[in-house]
């Protein structure tokens, strides 16, 4: 029993870690490769989550639709809508320099959050959407459903990883990194900066949307508390930096590593002496904050630093 428990805890870490890995890969495409400082991850995540949830739940009077589509269609919709939103944001903001883009995207995410909380005819506001199905949910129940979901999540992670690798190891990726480093000279080399950036931003946002969708299906319930920037935006940045920005494998490693760190600290703080117990959560946050500093100082350029892709025909 102990062991099955630990096994399923591991499964849960891997599921959440997988969702974070998607976010990290998406951010890596945007920031690691494209130099686009997206600090509004939570916004695109939320769009994906709500889209997928609305598309897949059964008809309801409390919110828009409830279209009862299969999960896969929901995730596709999440990618499309988040991508579309990304496109609109990129069209307006992509010219901004990195710090400014960061602020603009934080602002947009915050506006989106307010829309989600206030426009309850679409989202049921703060009361949230219930009864969101899991993939193959009709055949499975109980803990084993988590295993199936784990496989589902990681299949998507692998697909996105391969796409990200292809993007990275290509003339497209190279030009993108060139644009990141120096716009003026990229333009002088005939690169249509705006086009590259919009493409990057849209691809990244679409993946963030998928991650959002998956989280909605994982929790089976979606309310604004699922799109908290602390856990969605900032933590993802931490993961990417710790894993090594510019490196897709680093993104995945960072996501798993930091999420494990984040999650497991509680197991230790729960074992503090009794008189500390009520404060254990504060101690945990303190610990997380300190561990973060250690990670930053010890793994300067991330666990796996950025490398230029190899050229296959070079000896």
């Amino acid at each position: 029993m102990e062991w099955t428990g630990l096994f399923f805890y591991l499964v849960s870490i891997l599921i959440a870690g997988g969702i974070y890995a998607l976010l990290c890969l998406a951010l890596n495409i945007q920031w690691g490769m494209g130099g686009l400082f997206n600090a509004g991850i939570a916004g695109f995540f939320a769009i994906g989550a709500y889209t997928s949830a609305i598309l897949t739940t059964g008809e309801s009077s409390k919110h828009l639709g409830g279209f009862g589509l299969p999960v896969f269609a929901g995730l596709l919709g999440a990618a499309l809508l988040a991508g579309l939103m990304g496109w609109a944001v990129a069209k307006i903001c992509v010219r901004l320099k990195s710090d400014y883009l960061a602020m603009a995207s934080i602002g947009i995410a915050e506006i989106l959050r307010l829309v989600i909380v206030n426009e309850s005819w679409v989202t049921n506001g703060s009361l949230g959407l219930a009864g969101i199905p899991r993939p193959f949910g009709e055949y499975l129940a109980g803990r084993s459903a988590d295993l199936v979901f784990l496989a589902y999540v990681w299949t998507i992670v692998l697909i996105v990883y391969f796409v990200a690798m292809r993007l990275y190891d290509s003339p497209w990726g190279r030009s993108l990194r060139a644009i990141r480093d120096n716009e003026a000279s990229a333009a002088a080399a005939g690169k249509n900066i705006e086009k590259f950036r919009v493409q990057t931003f849209v691809i990244g946002c679409a993946v963030m949307g998928v991650a959002g969708g998956l989280s909605a299906h994982y929790f089976r319930f979606l309310s604004p508390s699922a799109t908290d920037p602390l856990l969605v935006t900032f933590l993802v940045w931490v993961m990417l930096m710790a894993g090594g920005s510019g490196n897709n494998r680093g993104a995945i490693v960072g996501a798993l590593g930091i999420w494990s760190l984040w999650s497991m600290t509680e197991i230790f703080t729960n074992r503090l002496p009794l008189e500390w117990i009520t404060r254990s959560s504060y101690i945990r946050m303190l610990l997380v904050g300190l561990l973060l500093q250690v990670v930053l100082q010890k793994f300067r350029s991330g666990v796996l630093p950025e490398k230029s892709p190899p050229l296959r025909f070079r000896k």
Partner: protein, 378 residues
Amino acid sequence: ADTKIGVLMDITGPIANFIPPLQNAANLAVKQVNEQGGLLDGNAVAVYGDTTGSSQGAVDAAQKLANVENVPIIMGALMSGTTIAAAEAVSIPTGIVQISPTATSPAMTDLKDNDLVYRIVPSDNFQGEVLAKMVLDEGIKKVAVTYVNNDYGVGIGQTFMDAYKKAGGEIVAAVKHEEKKDSYRSELASLTKGGAEALVVIAYAGDSGGKIVKQSIEGGLFTRFIGTDGLRDDLLIKDVGADALKTSFFSSPTSPADNPAQKTLHDEFNAEFGEGADKAFVDQTYDATFLAMLAVEKAGSTDRAKIAAALRDVASAPGEKVGPGEWAKAKELIKEGKDIDYDGAGGTYDFDAHGDVRGYVGKFVVDGDSYKQIEVMQ
């Protein structure tokens, strides 16, 4: 051996400021159990999980409680969002009973939960309706309403307004407001239009609710306030003074008639921690924790499968009444094989088929530096 009781709370994050008295409440329950014979054949140990106020954190914390700590039952969480996410993703699949002391979202009623998810506060719909009746009974025909934009405020606010209008009241202004702002004066300015007799505030005293009351008194905008359990907090009296609240009244879930159980609990709580018994949701948190332990005791083991049935058993009639702090008595009765029925500080808790309770709502007014219950409605 000791038995772990999972306590899931939103300790850090957006509602951090509500938590300390609630942790005290849970700890008090555990302490009393251990002083009066312990749980099963050992002591009870509360294991906390922190949801950080987000779904991700809630699921993660619940996973740890369920799988690493291996708890037989979970008390919590407090916000509806974190409660339902933890229930859907963890408690239901792992077959753990979860009792929330405070989650009021109507969505909880319809969860496909294999009879595992309970709560001991009535769904929002209930308090809203009763409040409407209470206000009309006072002879107030025109009110302005403001409610906080979260699951708590929206739930009660909407049902209140619907019920109030249906029963003939007039709502002259209604404003939904965001939490955590510093000034609500512009919201208040629009609420004053229309000449309402009183302002209905559905928000927490520790956050927007307290600020709204204070700022309307300072601005001379309203003198009469009607609040819900979130506002009915000693902090409010401390903040604006009893004088300013003379004509105001508050609703809060309670137990039928005048409830000695509540007084017992409050006395013990204040004896232990000095203050805070009157904070929002202290009663419910204590009761939920106590109930959780009763259910484990009743089940006779930490076998998760047996606990759900046991919980219904100990919470509802028939059976010998047990109240807050009466663990020794309860343990004795269970050992004798007798049926018990826990009636807590916050209500009698008879679960319906959905794991919800029908509640009683009390009407409170300010009395000195705390509140006095003057009427109970069902």
